[in-house]
Every structure is written in C-alpha cells, then in structure tokens.
C-alpha cells in the first residue's frame, strides 16, 4: 500500500471521513516524511508538528462524535510564508519580519481550519513574493525535488517543492505575475491562480494589491477543485473580493470538453519559444483536440508590452505596500539610528534584500512627480488594452492555451546576475494577472533533462469551472505520468 503522504488530498479526505485512517496517522506520515526529506529540499521555514497533531486530533474527535469534520478533513497542508497565521511566524522570507507574529489569521486560514485542514507549517518563498526562483529568500535556499541543483521556481518555490516531494497534500501559494503557476510548472505539480477577487486577500501580505491572488498548488486537478471550493468566496474584510456564487468545482470535472474552443495565441508560439517546450505544448493541444475540442488561432497583439506594464504597476504598488515596514511598530529596527529618518533608512537598507530594494526604488520612481504620466498612467492604459485583447480573444474561444514557463527549472545562480533575464521567466503568466483572469499550470511531461514542463490554460474571469474541466480532461487523457520526483 502506498504511504499516506503519497496520496492526494481528496484520497486522504475520503479515507479520513470513512474512518479508513485517522487524521493523526496521516499527519504523522507527513511529519515523518518532512523530517526525512525536507533537509534535502528545504521547503519548510517552520514545521508545526505539535500544532498539526493537535489539529488532527480535533478532526479525529469530531469524526468519533459523528460530526461533519469538513470538506478537507485531515488533509495536511503547507502555507506560504506570505500568508498571515497567528500560529508561528509570518516573515515573508524577509529579515525585516524576522520573528514577526501576526495578531490575526488570514480569512482563508480560518476557512481551511473550519473545513478540517491540518497545518504542517510554513513554506519558503522569494522575499515578499518578489522573484521567480526562491533565491531571494532571506531564510534559506529551497531546491527542486526533480534536481537538487536547480531552483524550484518562485516566488512560491517552497509551496511547489513541498507538493512535488510529498511534504504536504497541497500547499497555499500566492500569484502576482506567475508565482503559483511558474513554480508548479518547474516542480511538476498543478498550480492555479483564481480570478482576481475570487479568493479573499485579507491576511495575504500585499506585494501588488491589484495583481495578488492566493491559490493552491496540488498533486492533481481534482485537488485544485477541492481546494478552490473552500478558498473562494466573498469576504467582507476584502472590498475587492467578488460577491459571486461559488459553484462546486469538483462537479465541473466531467471529462467532457466536446465543442469547447481552445484558443492558441499566435504571439506565444513564435520562434522565441524553444523547440522542446513548443513540441510539448502543441502535443497537449492535440490531446484536447482528440477529446473533441476545437482549436482556433487567436491574437493578443499587446502581449509584447505585458512585461513592461507589469514591472511598472507591481513595483508602484509594492513601493507603497512595503512602506509600512519601517521599524516603528513591528519587525526589524536597526539598533544604531540617531533619529527617525536615519531609523527608516538604516532599517530598510539592512533588512530588505537587493531585489526588494530594487523594486521599491523602481516603483517610487514611476510614481514620482514628472514620471507618473509617462510610466504609471501609461502602464494602466496599456493594462486596459491587454485586458481588451483578452476580451476579444474570448469571443472566439473558451480557453486560451500557452506554455507556463519558457524553460524548465534552471540551476542556482543562472539568472541572478541579470534581473531582466529572471523577469522573463514569467513572460507567459503575467498577462493573466494584468487581465485579472484565472490561469492554471498542469504538467505536460518531462524534458530531456528530466525536468518537468507545464502547459498553461486561461479562462474568462470567474470561469474557473471551465478552466478546471479542461485541465482535468487534459490530465486524464494526456497519457503522461511524471512519477515521483527523485529528490536527488
């Protein structure tokens, strides 16, 4: 029999609810796995063994009393460092929040707990979710379970590596420009960024407020649907959360995609896409065709500007969002400051890493008097054009398909010297954030190097149901099984 830590969330949930296994046993299986394997992967920044055992015990008590133990009864999950939890620390993998204890839980943390989830601990990330390799963490270096010399992607690198190495049943990530989908792709798991407004951001430490969205990284598409059932919904604490009904996404996984129109943006399949990736994504499209979907060409002419627009808007918002980390009320404060101004400067200089400092400065610049119109305002206008491009494309198709990442996982240090090179890692993912669409990355095979590749599907705003239906149909019919990551 396979170990519990190798099973999916829905398998665990069903087994726990049917009393085939106790939540305590499942938690123990994962805690043992973490103790044995995480020293190689280094995905966890904190492991909450006692806390997880107590949560699992509560689930078991409920089941013993015959009560409903929730839609995620006994499912052990890991949480990205950027999500606020009263338990443990919330550091955003930054020195400036070293040891910071949040006075509140994120809305989704409360929802997950109410549904019987068990929290194993927190997962490493790029500092303040800024990066595509998790190399910007001030805490530790997380490795890709498929090749320990390679990065897990980012910024939710810990979340992706933990799922790929069976260190949690699923994990929570956040996605501002691809931070769930790109690491999911690089680590060979499923990662979904819901539509902006689908999931409450209350308790997600903000990087770029108009782009950030929480989502799950899972072992399969069904788990993604299961997780979204719990995560989605209007939250009175988040004014930007959408007041729309949340369907049962697991009901959308019918396997039937006949007549669905799959759009291929011509701009995403040009020469600049490497042959191997191209072949993998094209064969994924063939699988969908074989299931009765219709493939149409669409055009997203403003896509070329997405990266530039993204790095203006996200840095502008970040420059304000990160202003609060000043050493006045919480977090790191430089001990050798004479006055207030010096305290700000020394604190921020000492405790923010170089990428965070770069983005704060860039964002401050694009908002400055005299530059605002040329940068920030223009970027907002182009953002609208990009959204209109997608709106037009979605009149011709129901789903858009692209690669998730232009390359599979790369070695440590390969792109750290050139920020622009690193920024290109998100070339296929950032436009969904700009256009506030839902997007999902699903594994589409292993490259010759033995590293996973991923295909990305995008859908109309709030049409996660169709998105999951297509992803699920692809997963079931691709004939691809990655197998387990070697962790070597």
């Amino acid at each position: 029999m396979t170990a519990w830590h190798e099973k999916t969330a829905h398998e665990i949930r069903n087994a726990v609810r049917a009393r085939h296994v106790s939540a305590a046993e499942v938690a123990e299986s994962y805690l043992n796995r973490i103790a044995a394997v995480d020293p190689k992967v280094d995905s966890y920044t904190q492991v909450w063994a006692d806390f997880a055992r107590a949560q699992a015990a509560r689930v078991d008590e409920k089941i013993a009393r015959g009560e409903d133990a929730g839609r995620l009864a006994g499912v052990p999950i890991g949480i990205k460092e950027v999500i606020c939890t009263k338990q443990g620390h919330t550091t955003c993998s930054s020195r400036i929040l070293e040891g910071y204890q949040s006075p509140h839980d994120a809305t989704i943390i409360r929802k997950l707990e109410a549904e019987g989830a068990v929290f194993l601990g927190k997962l490493n990330m790029d500092e303040f979710a800024m990066g595509s390799s998790t190399e910007n963490s001030a805490i530790k270096t997380t490795r890709n379970p498929w090749n320990l010399r390679c990065v897990p992607g980012g910024s939710s690198g810990g979340s992706a590596a933990a799922v790929a190495a069976d260190l949690c049943a699923f994990s929570l990530g956040s996605d501002t420009g691809g931070s769930i989908r790109q690491p999911a792709c690089l680590c060979g798991c499923v990662g979904i960024k819901p539509t902006y407004g689908r999931v409450s951001r209350y308790g997600l430490v903000a990087f770029a407020s108009s782009l950030d969205q929480i989502g799950p990284l899972t072992k399969d598409v069904e788990d993604a649907a299961l997780a979204l059932n719990v995560l989605c919904g209007k939250d009175a604490m988040d004014a930007t959360s959408a007041n729309l009904p949340v369907p049962d996404f697991t009901q959308a996984l019918t396997g039937d995609i006949r007549g669905l129109r799959i759009g291929m943006p011509v701009e995403c399949f040009t020469e600049s896409l490497g042959a191997e990736m191209r072949e993998k994504v094209l064969s994924a499209i063939e699988v969908l065709k074989g299931q009765g979907a219709e493939v149409v060409e669409v055009s997203l002419p403003t896509l070329d500007y997405a990266l530039a627009v993204y790095y203006i808007i996200c840095t502008a918002e970040a420059s304000a969002n990160l202003a609060r980390f000043d050493g006045v009320r919480y977090g790191f404060r430089h001990p050798a400051a004479g006055d207030v101004r010096e305290m700000y400067v020394k604190t921020k200089t000492a405790a923010f890493g170089p990428e965070v400092r770069r983005r704060i400065m860039l964002g401050t610049y694009v908002l400055s008097s005299g530059y605002y119109d040329a940068y920030y305002l223009k970027a907002q206008k182009v953002r609208r054009l990009i959204k209109e491009d997608f709106d037009r494309a979605f009149t011709k198709c129901d789903i858009i398909v692209t690669p998730t990442s232009p390359t599979p996982a790369f070695e440590f240090g390969a792109k750290t010297a050139d920020p622009l090179e690193m920024y290109l890692s998100d070339i296929y993912t950032i436009s969904t954030n700009l256009a506030t669409l839902p997007g999902i990355s699903v594994p589409c095979g292993l490259c010759a190097s033995g590293l996973p590749a991923g295909v990305q599907f995008m859908a109309k705003p709030f049409d996660e149901a169709t998105l999951l239906r297509v992803a699920h149909c692809y997963e079931k019919n691709s004939g691809i099984t990655l197998g387990k990551a070697p962790i070597a």
Partner: protein, 476 residues
C-alpha cells in the same frame, strides 16, 4: 498703496461616525492610548481597508449642504509619505476625483451676503498622534486617532479679510453641526483650519505669493493669525521685501506667525489609486435619499424666522445658532405661544439658566410646551412677568408644568379689585407720611406705594390694577 488680502481655507473635520473609516474600531480617541486600535488601523502586514458606508452618507450630506456636485464615480488614492504617525506610511485620501466638488457656501459678513466657492470636499483618514513627552528622548504614538474619518473642505480664494474667514468658519461649523456630521470641536481637534493668505494691490488681477498658516486652535486664533499675516505681508512688500511661499505656524502667546516649513522641502506625495478599495459609486437614487433627509439649513432658516415670526436679524441669528435651539423655539411657538415673547424668554431667562447650569437646550427640563404654557399664563394675567421668572426657575429645576407650580405655590395673580383695594387701603394706612407727601404734590411717592402693595401681595397683585386703584384711593 492700498492692498487687499486673498484668502482660501482648508478645513479638516472629523466625521462623527461610530466606527473608523476603514475598520470597525470606535472613533473615541480620548480613550487610553492605543486601546481603540486593530490590525487594520495599526497598518499590520496583510490587512485591508473597507470603506465605512456611513462616512460616504455623511460626506455626501455635507457636500449637498455646501451646494457641491456629488461625483457619481469617485475613488480613493494613496498619498505616500513617511512619518511615525502614519500606520502604513501612506494615507488613504482622494486626489483627482473628490466625492464633492464645485460648491459654494453663502455667508453674511456685517449683514452683507457673500458667496464663498467650495472647490472640493474629499474623504480621507486621520493619522495617529505622536507624543514627545515620554522622557528619555523617547517618543510615543497613539493610534486611537489613526483611521478616524476626515472630510477635507477646500475653498476658492474668495475670502478677503479675517472677518470673512471667521464668518465662513462659523457658518461651516453651524452647517456641519446641523447635519450631525461633525462635532466641529476645535479644542479636541475635530475641526482643523488652515488659511492660505496672500496680499496684492487693490484691484490687481494676479495673486501675490501665498503663505499657509497651520495649527491654530480656535476661530478667534484663525482671525488673529490672518490679521497678523496680512499686516506682515503688506509691511514686507512696502519695505521692499518679498513674501516667501512657506508654511507658517501661529504662536497665540506672542500673537505672531512664524516659519515652519519652506517651499523647497515640499513633498512629492506620489498619489496613485488605492488598489485595495473599489470605486465609490453614488447613484442618483442614493444622492436623492440623502438630499431628502437634509434638515433646513441655518441661513435659510434664519431668514424664514425673520419673515414668518417677525424676528429681528439679531434674534433670528441667535435662535438659529444651533439646530436644537431653533427646533426648541419653533416647538414652543407651535404650542401656541407668542413668537417674539418666546424669543425673549429663550434668549433671556432660559439662556441664563442654561449658561449657569452649563447645560444645552437639547437636554433642558423645560419643555417647549411648558414654556409656551407659561407665556400664555402671562398673557391672560394668570401670573405676572415677575412671578413667571420664579416659575421658570422652578420649571428648570423640577421639570414640572407652570400650572402645577403656580397652583402648588399659590402664585396666581390677584386681579380682583376688592382684594387689591383691601391691600391698598392697608398700605395707605401704614404710610401716612407718604400720603401726605403725595398730597403736597410729590407724585414720585406713587412708585414707592405701588412697591409696598406688591410686596404685601407677595408679588401676586396685578401691577396695572394696583396702580389704578392706588391713584383712585389717593384721589379720594
């Protein structure tokens, strides 16, 4: 050369919602330091603001009362600057699309009407309060005030004197209190006024260089600061100098303004739309609901009082000073009392009692109906005006009706001629010397004798009747 001053005002008023503008904390910031706080108003990581709908209601009401256009679609923006009293190091405010714009407030200065343009009124959050009195070089921050709702009201440069500014502030405060949108208490900081002041040769069309005077703690302080600043600027120009654009503070003890911040260090606030909040959409129906709920405003009410009740400008002004006062007056008049007499009683004896008790008319024991009843009792000679003062004082303490008090204390006026004749005869018999003097032609002693009769009747005799009967008896 003759100069004229050009003045614009920026007023911040705290809107008296129960909870703060973006969180559920109470707005009572006089509580012990850092007790009315939560992760949101402390700017903890991961929190989000949610706009208090009541803040929008009250701001729209203020905007409508100031004859503003209410934006169908407005938004909130982040104003970025670093200061320890800023929880997030940005303030949520409104930049290019304020909720209210293009209004005006009609005021009267020395009886002359004047219209002051209102450029805009926008919503924002208050900051925390720094204290530097902890000792040992330490500073403290009290976040109770952080996130208290503010409405910033900006005028056109339409004011020309300190008196204009005073009249504007008074009218603004009166309106905001009528609307119950703010306490407008300058000492407690719920109203803060800044004046932009420049001078120019009379008749010139271009503006002079302006200075901004901040941190003045009272309306009279604002008036004095403006007067000082106008004088300072004129003297500076006359002596060949030039006014520098700067922010100046007011020293009430020395009665002078002083440089606080030069223009060079002006901030670049890097405003941009607040992505954590959705646009504020006030549709026509919402605006109409608020418009219909607006009370009659002070100035129109004053004019109506003059017209409808024949009151003087002064009396109508005093009686419309607060909504409670005006409502009290009208309630009494509607309870069938003479308007002018009611005005006199309210502004005279009742106000004196209120002032002495440091009480507000809204919490007065004397109901308008009782005051009206008392005035009617004077009119129909049940009691004299003098007795009425006694009755009112008793009403003020006990809240009893005047009728009850008059009955209990036997204060009904004596108008019966035979009863008064009896007292008069007794008084004449007791004062033969004065009767002699009268007969010798000294008419003045009548006053003394009347007084004796009133005293003998314990004030209850009708004074007119006493006079008449006394003269008749003396003539005998």
């Amino acid at each position: 050369m003759e100069y004229e001053a050009v003045i614009g005002m920026e007023v911040h008023v705290e809107i008296n919602t129960k909870s703060k503008v973006f969180c559920a904390c109470s707005t009572h910031f006089s509580a012990p330091a850092n007790t009315n706080v939560c992760p949101i108003c402390l700017g903890m990581p991961g929190v989000l603001p949610v706009l208090n709908r009541e803040m929008v209601n009250k701001s729209v009401a203020a905007g409508l009362a100031l004859n503003c256009t209410i934006s169908r679609w407005s938004k909130l923006d982040r104003k970025n600057y670093f200061y320890p009293d800023m929880a997030k190091n940005y303030q949520i405010s409104q930049y290019d699309l304020p909720l209210c714009s293009n209004g005006h407030l009609d005021i009267e200065v020395d009886g002359q009407p004047k219209s002051i343009g209102i450029t805009r009124a926008h919503m924002e959050e208050d900051t925390a309060r720094n204290t530097h009195t902890l000792g040992g070089g330490q500073s403290g921050v009290d976040f109770n005030r952080s996130g208290v709702p503010l409405l910033e009201i900006v005028t056109e440069p339409d004011l020309r004197s300190a008196q204009d500014a005073y009249a504007y502030l008074t009218a603004l405060k009166q309106i905001l209190q009528y609307l119950d949108v703010s306490d407008c208490n300058m000492e407690e900081g719920s109203l803060r006024a800044e004046a932009n002041i420049s001078v120019r040769p009379k008749g010139a069309s271009v503006f002079g260089t302006k200075t901004e005077v901040k941190n003045v703690a009272s309306f009279s302080g604002v008036m004095k600061a403006i007067e000082y600043e106008i004088k300072r600027q004129v003297e500076l120009i006359e002596s060949g100098g030039a006014v520098e654009q700067e922010t100046r503070g007011w020293d009430p003890d020395r009665g002078i303004t002083f440089t606080q911040r030069k223009k060079e260090s002006a901030h670049d606030y890097r405003y941009f739309p607040e992505p954590d909040l959705v646009p504020v959409v006030v549709d026509a129906a919402w605006e109409q609901r608020i418009r219909e709920s607006l009370p009659e405003l002070p100035l129109p009410r004053k004019h109506r009082f003059m017209e409808q009740y024949g009151l003087s400008d002064y009396d109508a002004n005093v009686l419309t000073g607060t909504q409670a006062m005006a409502d009290y007056f009208e309630a009494a008049v509607q309870a069938d009392a003479d308007a002018k007499k009611t005005a006199n009683w309210i502004m005279g004896d009742l106000q004196a009692l209120l002032t002495e008790a440091k009480a507000d008319i809204s919490a007065c024991n004397v109901t308008p109906a009782c005051l009206a009843e008392m005035i009617r009792m004077i009119n129909d000679n049940t009691i004299s005006g003098k007795i009425a003062k006694e009755v009112l004082a008793e009403m003020f303490v006990s809240g009893k009706s005047p009728k009850q008090i008059v009955e209990e204390k036997g204060l009904v006026q004596i108008t019966d001629a035979s009863a008064i004749e009896g007292i008069v005869r007794q008084v004449l018999a007791d004062n033969p010397q004065q009767v002699e003097q009268f007969k010798a032609g000294k008419d003045r002693v009548v006053g003394f004798l009347v007084g004796q009769v009133m005293k003998a009747s314990r004030g209850k005799a009708n004074p007119e009747k006493v006079n008449e009967i006394l003269r008749n008896e003396l003539a005998k």
